[in-house]
Amino acid sequence: MMAHDPDTNSTERLIAALSADVPAIPPRFIGRRIALGIAGGGVVSIGLVFALFGMRPDFPQALFGFSFWMKWAYTLSLGLIAVAATVRLARPEGGSLRMLWPLALPILLLAALAIEEMSRTPMRDWLSMWLGGSWNRCPWRVLLLAVPIFLGLLWSFRKLAPTNLRAAGAAAGLAAGAWAATIYCLHCDEYAAVFVLTWYSLGILLATGLGALIGPRVLRW
């Protein structure tokens, strides 16, 4: 019917051109691509920790302590939940940020731990426990370390298809922030649960907000 329409011809030519290049796609492509982006950015962030802040001097001993693993359990679980949400939002059918509700579990666990720690501490020490020695640097450093990881995720998204760009940006920012916090643990020797709950979470929240802010602009395709 429309066989001689010039538009139809150009569509046919386009199909021929597209079909000339059909590489195989591995299963679980989105997950791989996002993992690769985070890993690539993460290597840069680890380099930044060594270059700017240095490894905590007691790192080997810290590996046998409770607080290091408490921090890692918190940031890693946030990171994994964020990655799961990012993978979902990278599909055109999308999803909503409501799938982030499992975040409540690590947050509540850490809050319970913080309360338990404080109940064992005299009230006059609460403030120093809360502020630690680095409360005013911690959130900004986490945000800084999140930048390379977010850039890695932008690389991932070049082959992905988010349609809710703000939500996808927020999820990517959350993932970048949580993995940045995980990496920051290599340097940070704060030990109080209430410190981590406040200042680590604030850094991660900043990264999330920034992701939501620029998502519509940088994730367009």
Binding site: L18, V22, R91
Partner: protein, 177 residues
């Protein structure tokens, strides 16, 4: 002829495994589906084929986001819907002259253009006056009054040149896709 979900999905999956013939088969089968999808949602006929082509390109470049275990048509129409929204957003470039500046700011037209094509090459297709007016007001950041003074023409002349130039650019960009 219409193809079933199962048929389309078989082609899509084969394409994901690297089968170029199945991929071409799929894209060809999608053309009538996409045409009627966009016709139902657009007023005029003029942009339908552009949209179909943009969507075919998106389906090709973003095919890694299709999960072999999920329904294919849901994925397909999600891509098509996104292309439609993006298309409408970009198309609002041809509007009454007073709104041009506001829309340029909110829609990030310059960024979109810069990302898509080399600006110099694009502007070289316009008349000297139009190219200069667009360059001055939207790339160099001059106000309309400043641009008018530098080019020794009236302010309304600058505005009209920008408007006509952008319209011509938009038409050319659509033609290229």
């Amino acid at each position: 002829m219409r193809h079933s979900e199962a048929e389309l999905r078989t082609w899509m999956t084969a394409g994901l495994d690297g089968d170029a013939a199945a991929h071409a088969e799929l894209l060809r089968a999608l053309v009538p589906l996409l045409r009627s999808f966009f016709r139902r949602r657009m007023r005029g006929e003029e942009d339908i084929e552009d949209l179909v082509q943009e969507t075919l390109i998106a389906i090709h470049t973003k095919r890694g986001t299709y999960d072999r275990d999920r329904p294919f048509t849901a994925w397909l129409y999600a891509v098509a819907r996104y292309r439609l929204i993006d298309h409408l957003r970009r198309r609002r470039v041809s509007v009454p002259i007073e709104e041009v500046e506001a829309i340029l700011v909110t829609e990030g037209f310059e960024e979109a253009v810069t990302a898509r094509v080399d600006v110099d090459r694009l502007l070289s297709g316009l008349s000297g006056k139009q190219a200069r007016a667009i360059r001055d007001t939207h790339l160099e950041g001059l106000s309309v009054a400043e641009a008018a003074e530098q080019a020794r023409i009236g302010q309304s002349d600058v505005k009209v040149s920008v408007h006509r130039g952008l319209k011509a650019l938009a038409a050319r960009l659509r033609g290229q896709e």
